[in-house]
């Protein structure tokens, strides 16, 4: 093979080698759990193909290692006796990525690796020194002939184009309707022409009258015939576009196996580190999911696996005492429920310990003892997802660092999914992740805030309707709707998204959303119906924008922004929703000080969204002048500013007779404890970090400092 061909093939080889090694590792684990000859055949096939490819590209060292691995696989005994050999083979698997990145000849390390494998295989396996025929009998299937690798970006672009075609198809249907309307008007004009022809006939000009009438009839017939043909054709094209979009979005799906295949191996390694045993079974790995979903699932699944090994499964001795088999079981199952993908990670370990959860939550100061005692079932288990939650007093080697489950939930909700934990039927623990299978085509409910259109996944909408003020009640400052036994929080979308005021209508329209166990009624200015849209990624620039999960182009060319249901439901539950009555929160006059116009803009939007009045100052001196001139109920200031910085401003405010009692909140990008201390020492009442600033936190702080009302 010439150098250029080799260089061209090398990246593909590296990619496919990684996939094959993963398959081989998964096969080895299945063998260990009693896989049978089919597994051995598969191992041979993969090893043999990989060896052939390695040889083709000149990786002689690697091909020797693989050859020795083949011999060792031949010698693999059944059951637990295979473990030391499987260990050695897995170590060899781990070495492959390094070898394909390294020099082709491989060097001493490869020779040692091959030698080690050969020694384990014993003398019997040495027999065929050169080419070993693949014992599976069949030569490896010629993959290249039936599949093509396509770059994901290209496929995404094709998917986006297919989505656009779909929108264009809908537009064409709209134009057909317009055409029909136009022709009806011509037809009405034709009626007039026919009447005029009659008149002509009465006046004796029969010939002209006949010609006119005939032309009108002919034109009308031809026009409507054309319209029908055209409408049929547009309908057909639209159908084809839909099919195309559907197929492309199918083609974009990546099998879950790419993600799941490595998990049994990971579970085994983790368990070994802790002196535990585990058998990890995967089901539904052939399901295809959107690449974006797959990417979002990687970290959460690995973390859930670690969590199961670390917290769920007991050590063998404890399991035997409890009458369980010494090896723990972890089952990772994927299945489709309509358009939703459901992934469960279930172990047969010690299960959820309500007392341990309560104790940990109290130790971490996440909730008060009284409240904790009242918590039970799903609400109690939900504490596991709180930021910083851990039942370990000391961080464990594997998990228990208190960063895990919160991240699991966040990653899954970012793609419009949910994560819950529940007791497994057998006594263990089960995590259930649900999310859309594909983000490409989605049935959505369109809602309006003023003139702007937003989309909510229809799967999350339980219904739509109007909210009658008589059904509203207030519980602990939260506006809620009585629905039978249930109280559903109510919030208006405009204020929720800091876009504008709540609708003034007496009985405003609302969408009833459900996310997992949580519900919320979202009040909107108008409902614009349900439809299927091609969802686009909002693009790199908008990645991380609050509530935003995607965008769709509507037939009229407007963009509808796809909102995250979990985000909306959670925000509605937090917000003391002023719907439809005037705000219950006290309106404060706030002086906002920041030298950055952008920062001021952001914070002013938050404050106004909370219903407060804002005056802006560009530095400490400017703020001091404005304080003297006006009456304010709170001061929000940045730290690093020219002329007079926030610390000196806070000191000056505290030192003055007039403003000594004015609540001062420092809003800084610096989060170090000594910075906080410096701020509080200067007399600030609160110190908020810009990067972590939320409407909720700001609102709560102001409420705490300024009181509920005066």
């Amino acid at each position: 093979m010439d150098q250029r061909t080799r260089e061209r093939l090398l990246p593909k080889f590296r990619e496919s080698a990684a996939e094959r090694v993963e398959q081989i590792a998964a096969g080895l684990l299945r063998w260990e759990q009693g896989g049978g000859t089919a597994v051995r055949d598969e191992l041979f096939r993969e090893l043999h193909t990989l060896k052939g490819e390695a040889r083709l590209l000149g990786f002689t060292g690697l091909s020797q290692v693989l050859h020795a691995a083949e011999d060792l696989v031949k010698a693999l005994p059944e059951g637990a006796a295979a473990r030391p050999l499987v260990d050695a083979l897995l170590r060899a698997c781990d070495a492959v990525p390094g070898l394909v990145d390294g020099p082709p000849a491989g060097g001493d390390a490869t020779a040692l690796l091959a030698e080690g494998l050969r020694a384990l295989a014993g003398p019997a396996a040495h027999l065929p020194p050169r080419e070993a025929r693949p014992p599976g009998g069949e030569p490896p299937p010629p993959r290249a002939a039936t599949t093509v690798r396509v770059g994901v970006e290209e496929l995404d672009e094709i998917a986006a184009l297919a989505g656009d075609l779909l929108v264009d198809g809908a537009r064409a249907r709209g134009r057909t309707r317009e055409l029909q309307e136009l022709l009806s008007r011509w037809s009405r004009l034709g009626d007039l022409a026919l009447a005029a022809a009659d008149e002509l006939r009465h006046r004796g000009d029969g010939q002209r009258a006949d010609r006119m009438a005939r032309d009108v009839h002919l034109l009308r017939t031809d026009a409507f015939r054309f319209l029908r043909r055209h409408a049929d054709a547009v309908g057909a094209v639209e159908g084809q576009f839909a099919l195309l979009a559907d197929r492309v979005s199918q083609a974009r799906l990546v099998p879950l196996s790419t993600l799941l295949a490595g998990l049994p191996r990971a579970a085994r390694d983790l368990a070994q580190e802790q002196g535990k045993e585990v058998a990890c079974a995967i089901e539904g790995a052939d399901l295809g999911v959107d690449r974006a979903i797959l990417l979002a699932l990687g970290d959460p699944l690995v973390h859930l696996l670690r969590n199961a090994v670390d917290h769920g499964l007991e050590p063998p001795a404890e399991r035997i005492r409890a009458g369980k088999p010494p090896a723990g079981r972890i089952a990772i199952t994927a299945r489709l429920d309509g358009e939703q993908l459901e992934l469960t990670v279930e172990d047969d370990g010690r299960g959820l310990d309500a007392e341990a959860i309560r104790a940990a939550a109290q130790r971490l100061g996440l909730a008060q003892e009284e409240r904790l005692r009242a918590l039970d079932g799903p609400a109690l288990h939900d504490l596991l997802f709180l930021p910083g939650f851990t039942t370990r007093a000391e961080p464990g080697e594997v998990s228990g660092r208190g960063v895990g489950l919160e991240v699991v939930r966040r990653r899954v909700t970012e793609v419009g999914g949910s994560a819950v934990v529940e007791p497994a039927p057998g006594g263990g623990t089960r995590f259930v992740l649900r999310m859309p299978q594909s983000l490409a085509l989605l049935e959505v409910l369109l809602v309006r805030v003023e003139e702007d259109v937003y989309a909510i996944p229809a799967a999350d909408v339980e219904g739509v309707g109007r909210i009658d003020p008589v059904d509203l009640t207030e519980v602990a400052g939260l506006r809620a709707l009585r629905q039978g036994e249930r109280l559903v929080p109510v919030a208006a979308l405009g204020p929720l998204l800091s876009l504008g005021p709540a609708p003034r209508a007496r009985r405003p329209a609302a969408a009833f959303l459900r996310h997992g166990q949580d519900r919320a009624a979202i009040v909107v200015d108008g409902l614009a119906g349900e439809r299927e849209v091609a969802v686009k990624s909002p693009g790199a620039f908008l990645a991380g924008a609050p509530y935003l999960t995607g965008a769709a182009v509507l037939p009229d060319g407007r963009a509808a922004l796809l909102l995250s249901t979990p985000g909306l439901v959670a925000a509605a539950r937090r917000q003391t929703g002023p719907v439809p009555a005037p705000p219950a929160r006290r309106r404060l006059r706030v002086l906002l000080v920041d030298d950055s116009a952008i920062a001021r803009d952001t914070q002013a939007a938050l404050l106004r969204g909370l219903g407060h009045e804002v005056e802006e100052a560009v530095d400490g001196e400017d703020a001091w002048r404005r304080l003297a001139a006006g009456a304010f109920q709170a001061l929000l200031t940045d730290v690093q500013m020219p002329v007079l910085d926030g610390i000196d401003l806070a000191r000056r405010v505290r030192g003055s007779a007039r403003h000594a009692r004015l609540p001062v909140v420092i809003l800084s990008s610096l989060s170090a404890p000594e910075e906080r201390r410096r701020g509080l020492d200067a007399g600030a009442d609160a110190y908020l970090v810009k990067g972590e600033l939320s409407a909720e936190a700001l609102g709560a702080t102001l409420e705490r400092l300024c009181g509920g009302g005066r």
């Binding site: 693009g539 116009a597 940045d638």
Partner: protein
């Protein structure tokens, strides 16, 4: 925070692309930036507002099937908002993986300012000081040359910090 960054020293050539600047008007000032960042000038479609976004990001619109966020340069610079009626012209920017539309009071177009006609930024640079790389002399009115990628990055970070 407001000290002008040492961007000048970090970028040896203050205006790549043979000195071609894309110029816009914001308030009373003429601002220019590397013309290579602009892929086209488009007319704004109807905007859909972004949840929880500051006024500098008034919304998104669609252009040939692509959803583009609009960044209002005037608001970034602390000036009154740029007019954004239907048909207002905006420059579509490509900055790394980011695609967005930059709006200002007016699009002025391309101006060539050779390196010799560029001067370092003055010590007091006004609202744009943070992102000012220099001042170009072209015609009667000077052009404030912006480090646009830095400006966009700051605006984005302020808008939705992780």
């Amino acid at each position: 925070m407001p000290e002008p960054r040492e961007a000048q020293s970090a970028a040896p050539d203050p205006a790549p692309g043979e000195g071609w600047l894309f110029c816009v008007r914001a308030g009373a000032g003429r601002y220019g930036f590397d013309a290579a960042l602009v892929s086209e000038v488009v007319r704004l479609g109807p905007l859909t507002r972004l949840p929880g976004a500051p006024a500098a990001l008034p919304g998104v619109f669609t252009h040939r099937g692509e959803v583009l966020a609009v960044l209002d340069l005037c608001r970034v610079l602390g000036l009154p908002a740029a007019p954004m009626g239907l048909g207002a012209r905006a420059a579509v920017l490509r900055i790394g993986a980011w695609r967005l539309a930059l709006l200002a009071d007016a699009v002025l177009g391309l101006v060539q300012v050779p390196a010799a006609a560029q001067e370092p930024a003055p010590a007091q640079g006004g609202p744009a000081a943070r992102w000012l790389r220099g001042v170009g002399r072209a015609g009667a009115e000077p052009v404030a040359i912006l480090d646009l990628p830095a400006l966009v990055q700051d605006a984005r970070q302020r808008s939705f910090a992780p």
